[in-house]
């Protein structure tokens, strides 16, 4: 059985993990075209080579990211989400309130 290294729990059998899809940067859902939005929601790159993926360690519900070579199935590194998402996201495309605090 394949193993995966969780940044919190260390090396574990792959059966302890849930695959969470490919990581890719989100388009701005307010300004992007419908086409771009559909690409984001329904399509993955499915690149033959290096990809970054979401994985969740099930016993701890811990989400992290993994860099993997889809050709050799070699896992190059796994790292916490905070390496990419460094700060609070209040961008208009993510926040539920506009600046006046109106959101209902």
């Amino acid at each position: 059985m394949k193993q995966l290294c969780c940044p919190l729990n260390g090396l574990r059998n792959i059966s302890e993990f849930l695959y969470g899809g490919e990581y890719h940067a989100k388009p701005d859902q307010i300004s992007c075209s419908a086409r771009d939005w559909a690409e984001h929601v329904f399509f993955d790159e499915n690149n033959a080579g290096l990809v970054i993926e979401w994985w969740c360690h099930l016993p701890t519900s811990y989400w992290f990211l993994v860099e993997r070579n889809t050709v050799s199935d070699e896992i190059l590194r796994s790292f916490p989400c905070s390496d990419i998402y460094k700060q609070r996201d209040d961008s208009p495309a993510s926040a539920s309130r506009d600046k006046g605090g109106q959101g209902e």
Binding site: L8, N9, R12, N13, S15, E16, H57, L58, P59, T60, Y62
Partner: protein, 245 residues
């Protein structure tokens, strides 16, 4: 050790372990710990203790435990006077025997000691409020998780049949924690040796207590292990004191 007959009926208390029926059926005698009946003995005290030295399974669901989580948790717990593990997946024994387990950078699990009172853990719980404990969130671990113990010289051998984590002492020393999957369910394993006797606490979703219990009993079968009561654990603990004298 108190040898007086124990006549507590577990159903007479409001709080009940999900396993109390099984214990009653197998002739357990119970003792009230906090507000719950805990199986105290299944055979004579000596027999229970001898069994536990080889391989025993103990239901500690009745004992108090609580979780704290959040970016402020370590600060708040420190202010409450607890010693905290330096990194995730380690536990620290408190002076009064309480165990503080660090499950992640900002999540802690506090397990009551086995013998004396639980006043400290209860005081902490009543001191906590969303407003007073900044970015610290209480988790109702006492109700969300069962607490079982696998104890005895053969505990590791037995667990190696169902647990894919290397529990060898070199890799998994006393007070080490693993959060893993056993028999398709998420389990927190904490090694907490009782004196010289290996002991593993297993905590899992309380709705799966009976399932986990059956899995463990099945795995124990070939080792001739059995269910033992809290009294045996207390005795094993004291053996450390004797042997270290």
């Amino acid at each position: 050790m108190d040898q007086s007959p124990l006549t507590l009926v577990p159903g007479s208390l409001l709080r009940r372990s999900p396993l109390y029926r099984r214990h009653a059926e197998t002739g357990a005698s119970f003792r009230q710990v906090d507000d719950c009946a805990v199986p105290y003995r299944f055979r004579s005290h000596q027999e229970d203790t001898d069994m536990a030295r080889q391989l025993g399974l103990v239901d500690l669901c009745g004992l108090t435990k609580v979780g704290y989580k959040g970016p402020g948790a370590s600060l708040w717990l420190g202010q409450e006077g607890l010693l905290l593990p330096a990194e995730p997946n380690l536990a620290v024994l408190q002076p009064d025997g309480m165990l503080v387990a660090r499950l992640s950078l900002d999540e802690f699990l506090v397990l009551r000691n086995l013998e004396s009172d639980s006043s400290l853990i209860c005081d902490m719980e009543s001191a906590w409020s969303l407003d007073s404990a900044v970015q610290t969130y209480l988790l109702p671990r006492r109700d969300s998780h069962c607490w079982l113990a696998v104890v005895g010289a053969e505990a590791r051998q037995m667990l190696s049949k169902i647990c894919a984590i290397n529990l060898h002492l070199d890799e998994f020393p006393n007070l080490k924690i693993a959060q893993t999957i056993i028999a398709d369910l998420s389990v927190i394993i904490i090694r907490h040796d009782l004196g010289l006797t290996p002991c593993f606490y297993l905590l899992a979703d309380v709705a799966l207590t009976e399932y986990l219990w059956e899995v463990l009993q099945d795995a124990m079968d070939e080792f001739a292990g059995a269910t033992v009561g809290l009294a045996a654990l207390l005795t094993l603990k004291t053996l450390l004191v004797e042997s270290s004298k």
